[in-house]
């Protein structure tokens, strides 16, 4: 398959506005129409249309063989996808909430990630595991986590975390085409966000960051919902005379190090923001990468990381919000960097 990157800000006239959820569905449907080996499986993805409505209507078009409604058995669903991928299919799993990755973790970490390597390069596992993540819905500690660092740590898995509808479409198509197991995170709060998404088929290569906003004073590397918060912070900071560059890596593995390094060389200051718990979070990886890179000599402020407090996600709405970085926190971090506090 030929890949062509489409910048989300281009082609506005020729496209229509659809939601993130619709963009994911469009990617799935296009791939399934194109390739008989692609099928989807997961809990309640049939007539129910998936817990977040992503697969709505797909069973009508593709039938129950290719839109496989499964029992509640995360390890078995994931393992079955791995086995079918190993034998030539291209399964896309919907794991109802990313928290349940813990149940599928043996299959992901000990099977999917390693089979090809252990077999000396024979065979591959072209599967995708899509899963909604993140807090903000009041579902509390067992349905709100951001565990992307868990999977990013395991060699052999690729990890995608889109922040916009058009990115989601292009990245999911690339993920399905990829011959490796890919974990594809969809933040629940993004599902209803809308934007212009090209109707035609296109892919966004895994491992290509997107500069969501150009700026000269400070770089903010943000993922998923934090991209939007960073952009909001950037607009407000512009009024204070601080010009922010916002970079969305889009894929954590592989990570587009060069785009981040180039930006830090330009601005000399960097803040990494994610929703996951800061301790042991992926932000630490990005910060270390910058510190180890040629951008180190260009830094004129410490690298700052913003992430969630090290607590389980609380139920009460005010506490839930207080746990994760907000626009104000990002603004303050940017001021601290620029004014070297």
């Amino acid at each position: 398959m030929q890949s062509s990157a489409v910048n989300s800000s281009n082609n506005k006239e020729t496209t229509r506005s659809i939601t993130f959820a619709e963009a994911v569905r469009e990617a799935l449907s296009q791939e399934m129409r194109e390739d008989q080996d692609v099928f989807i499986l997961g809990e309640d993805i049939g007539v129910y249309g998936g817990a977040f409505g992503v697969t709505r209507g797909m069973i009508e078009e593709f039938g129950p063989e290719r839109v496989r409604n499964t029992p509640i058995s995360e390890a078995a669903i994931t393992g079955a996808a791995i086995g079918s991928a190993l034998t030539g299919m291209k399964p896309v799993v919907e794991l109802q909430f990313s928290d349940f990755i813990t149940i599928a973790m043996d299959q992901l970490a000990n099977q999917a990630a390693k089979l090809r390597y252990m077999y000396g390069g024979k065979g591959n596992v072209p599967m995708v595991l899509r899963t909604p993540s993140g807090s903000g819905t009041g579902a509390a500690a067992q349905h709100s986590q951001s565990l992307e660092a868990w999977v990013a740590h395991v060699p052999g898995l690729k990890v995608v975390q889109p922040s916009t509808a058009s990115d989601a479409k292009g990245l999911l198509k690339a993920a399905i085409a990829d011959p490796n197991p890919v974990i594809f995170y969809e933040h629940k709060l993004l599902y209803k966000t809308q934007e212009h998404v090209p109707e035609e088929a296109y892919t966004i290569p895994l491992g290509e960051a997107d500069v969501k906003r150009e700026g000269t004073d400070v770089t903010i590397v943000a993922t998923a919902v934090m991209v939007h918060k960073a952009l909001e912070a950037a607009e407000k900071l512009a009024e204070e005379g601080i010009d922010v560059e916002v970079i969305d890596p889009r894929t954590l593995v592989p990570l587009d190090e060069q785009t981040i390094v180039d930006s830090v060389k330009k601005t000399g200051k960097v803040i990494v923001v994610h929703e996951a718990v800061k301790r042991g979070g992926y932000g630490g990886e990005i910060a270390s990468m910058i510190a180890e890179s040629e951008a180190f000599d260009y830094l004129d402020a410490p690298i700052r990381r913003l992430g969630a407090l090290p607590i389980p996600v609380p139920y009460n709405p005010a506490l839930e919000k207080a746990m994760v970085p907000q626009v104000d926190d990002i603004m303050q971090a940017a001021r601290d960097s620029v004014h070297r506090r």
Partner: protein, 305 residues
């Protein structure tokens, strides 16, 4: 049973009004299994519950005031506003907790039963779970463990016909989930989960068996959830006729009619209970509404002991 019914009906109402956030899973229509099972337990006995756990919680003796306060996210709630509907625990009353992970509580129940056996504490543990949970690895692994160790645990599968949108008949190849007991070498019973006396009878027998040290029992209570799985469920996976069929088998009305028929209570007395429980749930709402929000200072509390 009325307390459970009114509690969940009230929650439904507040949810629709947007006054409770997050998500919630109502057990309206399933009251008899919660009550019938817990009625046969002693105070020292334990239960583990599920995401659809308000009924189990009340039946094991929890205070609806504190449950409602939890749903409102208040400091006076069972989890100080940090857990919400899916995570209510009432350890003092032997409820080791609801669970947001389908099948998550099953191994926990086995562990509690192991404690009882090893320390000879004499309590038994009832493990509630759904038909959907019976397809999780945790179910199979936990039941096997309990079986080989003869642990004092009763597995109660509330088969309400659906795991979210998945009909049990499409997700389980056998007629009765209780038949799986055979594969683990333990007794299995099927019971009409809408028939309170029948649940109590089967449960009584299971309690005697388990308390005597004979090991685990698997009970399957056939019932039905009247409402959708959780909020915003269009219920496209089932027919309105089917729903009506089951509503005609209302467990509360069934029991009430039986009591009246036998002259144990009068129509008026039944009505009094119905009204009193409703009023009491209204007071729970007041309690919840008047309770303070948790302070931001508590954010970092209770992560570690």
């Amino acid at each position: 049973m009325w307390s459970i019914r009114w509690f969940d009906e009230k929650v439904d109402e507040f949810f629709a009004k947007g006054m409770i956030h997050g998500t919630t899973h109502l057990c309206v229509g399933q009251e008899a299994s919660a009550v019938g099972v817990c009625a046969m337990l002693e105070d020292k006995d334990k239960i583990t519950s599920t995401h659809r756990g308000h009924g189990h919680c009340i039946a094991k003796g929890a205070d609806p005031d504190r449950m409602m306060a939890e749903l409102f996210g208040r400091e006076t709630g069972y989890c100080k506003g940090k857990g919400g509907s899916m995570h209510i625990a009432d350890v003092e009353k032997g409820n080791l907790g609801a669970n947001g992970i389908v099948g998550g509580g099953i191994p926990l129940a086995v562990g509690a039963a192991l404690t009882s056996k090893m320390r000879q504490e004499g309590y038994i543990t009832v493990c509630f779970f759904g038909d959907g949970a019976a397809n999780e690895g945790s179910f199979h692994e936990a039941v096997n463990l309990a079986a080989i160790w003869d642990l004092p645990v009763i597995f109660v599968c509330e088969n309400n016909q659906y795991g979210m949108s998945g009909p049990v008949k499409d997700m389980v190849k056998i007629e009765n989930i209780a038949d799986r007991a055979l594969g683990y070498g333990i007794p299995g019973h099927v019971v009409d989960g809408n028939n309170l006396p029948e649940v109590m009878t089967v449960m009584k027998e299971a309690v005697e068996y388990t308390r005597n040290g004979s090991g685990p029992v698997l009970i399957e209570a056939k019932t039905y959830r009247w409402k959708g799985h959780s909020k915003s469920d269009a219920k496209k996976y089932r027919t309105r006729e089917e729903e009506k069929e089951w509503k005609d088998k209302d467990p509360i009305r069934f029991f009430q009619d039986a009591l009246i028929e036998r002259g144990i209570i009068t129509e008026e007395e039944a009505d009094t209970v119905k009204k009193a429980t409703k009023a009491s749930i209204e007071r729970s709402v007041e309690f919840a509404e008047q309770s303070p929000e948790p302070s931001a200072d508590t954010l970092l509390e209770d992560v570690y002991a």
